[in-house]
């Protein structure tokens, strides 16, 4: 056993020449890493494809995307901005609100604006809002979670206490209070929402995941190899937490859209047009008491909110099966 304790080339005469390790790698390291990432992405895609819920969600999102992209084309080349502008348009030829007619496939709202144009215009902005807030929350949440897990101790305690409190915040009441004092427009709203989500539950969940990664041997190996803390967090911990982050990003899009729609519905946000605003307009004008008759005022936007949220939620569930093998269809 003592032989093992000393290094093999001490006082042992001429050593056998060890074959040099040359697996014939000529590619730069980033290319290999890139290829590996692509391969794991392809594998995950295969699993995701199996999930019917996830795929349906993805198709709906793509359809929404296409619908939103139609807007610049329609307003610039097809529709007359005077009539079809989502905020200030007006059609003088009709009584408003008008039920669906040839020129207005989904009718007009109480002040004469085209419902379809409003829907189409808002789609892009809902994407913007949802994605912006979700990306902020996940980027910040992942980073904090990884830091808290990696450093532990004081950093961990601080962030976890903050998370405890943020999780206590009833978001909608809080935003109602904030929104009633500062008229929030879409960007500040997305940013506030993103940060509120980031410091709350998502940090806790991602930290738990990062903790599991942290105890794996390759983290120690990276540390022994001289990797800096930041390098280890960036190159080893975050990539392993990323699938879960991505999953929560989908759920956060849903949360952001619902919050926006709710607050818009109550007329608290400084947003000129959104799906929630459309229902708000109909409600404040008193048309929602005769639900069945004026269905085109609330049904399209209500349906869109639900479908849009459901689509992201469904993609999230599909991703859940990628992240969590035990949920997969057997």
């Amino acid at each position: 056993m003592t032989e093992l304790a000393t290094s093999p080339d001490m006082g042992r005469g001429p050593e056998k020449q060890l074959p040099r390790f040359d697996p014939g790698i000529t590619e730069p390291i980033w290319k290999i890493r890139w290829k590996m990432n692509m391969r794991s992405l392809a594998q995950n895609w295969e699993i995701f494809k199996e999930s019917r819920v996830g795929m349906s969600g993805l198709i709906i999102i793509i359809a929404f995307g296409a619908f939103g992209l139609l807007w610049p084309i329609m307003i610039n080349f097809v529709w007359d901005p005077l009539i079809y502008h989502p905020v200030v348009g007006f059609d003088p030829m009709l009584m408003h609100p008008s039920p669906p007619v040839a020129g207005h496939l989904l009718g007009t709202d109480p002040i004469g604006r085209d419902i379809l144009a409003q829907l189409m215009f808002s789609t892009g902005r809902e994407f913007l809002l949802g994605m912006l807030s979700a990306v902020i929350s996940v980027v910040v949440g992942t980073f904090i979670g990884a830091m808290a897990a990696y450093y532990g101790g004081f950093t961990d305690t601080i962030f976890m206490r903050v998370a405890d409190i943020v999780m206590l915040f009833p978001f909608v009441p809080l935003l109602v209070v904030i929104g009633s004092m500062i008229r929030l427009s879409i960007f500040p709203f997305a940013i506030i929402l993103g940060f509120l989500e980031a410091f709350g539950g998502i940090t806790v969940i991602l930290k738990a995941q990062a903790l599991q990664v942290k105890v794996r041997p390759y983290i120690d190996a990276a540390r022994v190899a001289g990797g800096s803390d930041l390098h280890i967090i960036r190159a080893h911990i975050i990539p392993n937490v990323l699938p879960l982050s991505f999953l929560y990003m989908m759920f956060n899009v849903t949360a952001a859209i619902v919050s926006e729609a709710t607050l818009s519905f109550f007329g608290i946000l400084n947003i000129d047009m959104s799906w929630g605003m459309m229902i708000h307009t109909a409600e404040t004008a008193g048309y929602l008491f005769d639900f069945g008759k004026f269905w085109w005022l609330w049904a399209p936007s209500g349906f869109f909110i639900t479908l849009f949220c459901a689509a992201f939620y469904m993609v999230g569930r599909g991703l859940d099966e990628v992240v969590n093998p035990r949920l997969r269809k057997r």
Binding site: A163, I165, P170, P173, M181, I182, L211, A261, F291, A310
Partner: protein, 424 residues
């Protein structure tokens, strides 16, 4: 359980041998449980202080602070304005203002509401709080129970038509735009079918001649409901052994439950409050249903997912091998263990459920904290908005605590270490 909580109650008490069918052991468990709870209470008080501080500074950071509303009136002369500022304590350094805010909260002084002048904020909130609690607790318990039962069924029949349909319906409700959902429900039940009252808390025409105020009746109602719930719980606890084995004790338990409810109705009738109670209940149905519909799907989908994991556990296989009936394996093994992560996420989602509650209260004109908060915020009634926000936070903290304690009872592993022990 939220990972990262401080350890409350050390691992002492574990693995201590106890005498036969151990009374001592039970005592040890109670002691560690008590220590765990005390630790949690300490944490909660700290959290509450931080929360209040954050609300305070949030309100301070807003443009147009509290003083502006009083002082912006141009008819007040400059001298009076300064005097008023002094009276309100706004000339003192911010830190002292903050201290008096904290002190005032704990002495029940939240200032005077602008919009309900001259009613103190505290009075308004204390009047409204029970209504919110009843709505919130009823709807959350109901939605949790419905979600739990449905999730259990669909996980057990994974891949079947029921599973697929329930998943689709669940996702629809879970992502439904709930102001619209409540409008649809109002329109359907109150307007078109004309079965349920439109909204509000009571029917004014009925109450105008009533010999009591609605708050008194409501107070007795809440008290009575709690007593009934406790009695029913006790009955089923006493019969818990027999329930699984004999039909007779199940019948006994149900008969006694019916008796308790009958007695309660008789008492209400004898005191002449029955029609008024029924009126309040009728007004509760729609908001409770809406909140339940919004919330049940979350529990259901979570229960399904977490049960899909527990059914693959060895102890479920072992239970089957033991020759236990299918429903016992499902309920006492797979579902019982799947309940734990579901409760954890219930705790995490209490705040968002509260948000849904606010929307529901506003939609149904249910005069609870949420409605007050919303109106105060819109009407720039800062004292009331602050108070309502703090009350909401306190209420959520207490709900958090209750859920934590419940969790500690559900998971025997938790009371020793403050967090679920790793297996092995």
């Amino acid at each position: 359980m939220i990972p990262g909580h401080a350890r409350a109650g050390g691992p002492s008490g574990a693995l201590r041998p106890a005498p036969r069918f151990g009374r001592e052991q039970l005592k040890a468990r109670v002691i560690t449980m008590r220590r765990y709870m005390l630790g949690r209470v300490g944490q909660l008080v700290l959290t509450l202080l931080i929360y209040m501080t954050m609300v305070y500074f949030l309100m301070q950071a807003m443009p147009g602070d509290i003083s502006q509303v009083y002082l912006a009136n141009p008819r007040i002369p400059q001298a009076a304005r300064l005097e008023l500022k002094k009276q309100l304590g706004l000339d003192r350094p911010p830190f002292f203002q903050y201290l008096s805010y904290i002190k005032n909260f704990f002495t029940g002084n939240l200032g005077v509401s602008f919009s309900h002048y001259p009613r103190p904020v505290w009075d308004i909130l204390v009047e409204r709080l029970p209504r919110t609690i009843v709505l919130f607790v009823t709807a959350n318990c109901l939605s949790f129970y419905v979600g739990f039962v449905l999730g259990r069924i669909i996980a057990w029949q994974r891949g079947a038509t029921v599973d697929r349909m329930a998943t689709v319906v669940g996702i629809t409700f879970w992502t439904a735009f709930y102001p619209l959902l409540s409008l649809i429900l109002i329109w359907l039940f109150a307007f078109t079918l004309n079965r349920l009252p439109l909204n509000q808390f009571i029917e004014p025409a009925l109450w105008i001649k009533a010999p009591f105020t609605s708050n008194t009746v409501f107070g007795y109602m809440v008290l009575g409901a709690s007593v009934i719930a406790l009695a029913v719980f006790l009955i089923f606890w006493v019969f818990r052994r027999g329930l699984r084995r004999t039909r007779r004790s199940a019948a006994m338990a149900w008969a006694m439950t019916a008796g308790v409810i009958g007695l309660a109705i008789w008492i209400a009738h004898a005191t002449g409050t029955l029609i008024y109670i029924w009126d309040i209940i009728r007004h509760m149905i729609l908001p409770v249903c809406t909140l339940t519909l919004i919330n049940f799907a979350g529990t259901m989908l979570l229960m399904r997912d977490s049960m899909l994991e527990t059914v693959q556990e060895d102890y479920v296989m072992a239970a089957r091998a033991k020759g236990l009936p299918d429903n016992v394996v499902r309920d006492r093994y797979a579902a019982r263990n799947a309940l734990l992560p579901t409760v954890t996420s219930l705790v995490l989602s209490l705040a968002s459920s509260m948000s849904g509650g606010l929307v529901t209260e506003t939609m149904f004109s249910w005069p609870g904290i949420g409605q007050v908060l919303f109106r105060a915020a819109i009407g720039n009634d800062y004292p009331l908005a602050t108070g309502a926000l703090v009350f909401t936070g306190v209420f959520l903290l207490v709900a958090h605590f209750v859920a934590d304690v419940l969790y500690a009872f559900l998971d025997p592993r938790i009371s020793y270490t403050g967090q679920p022990a790793a297996e092995g």
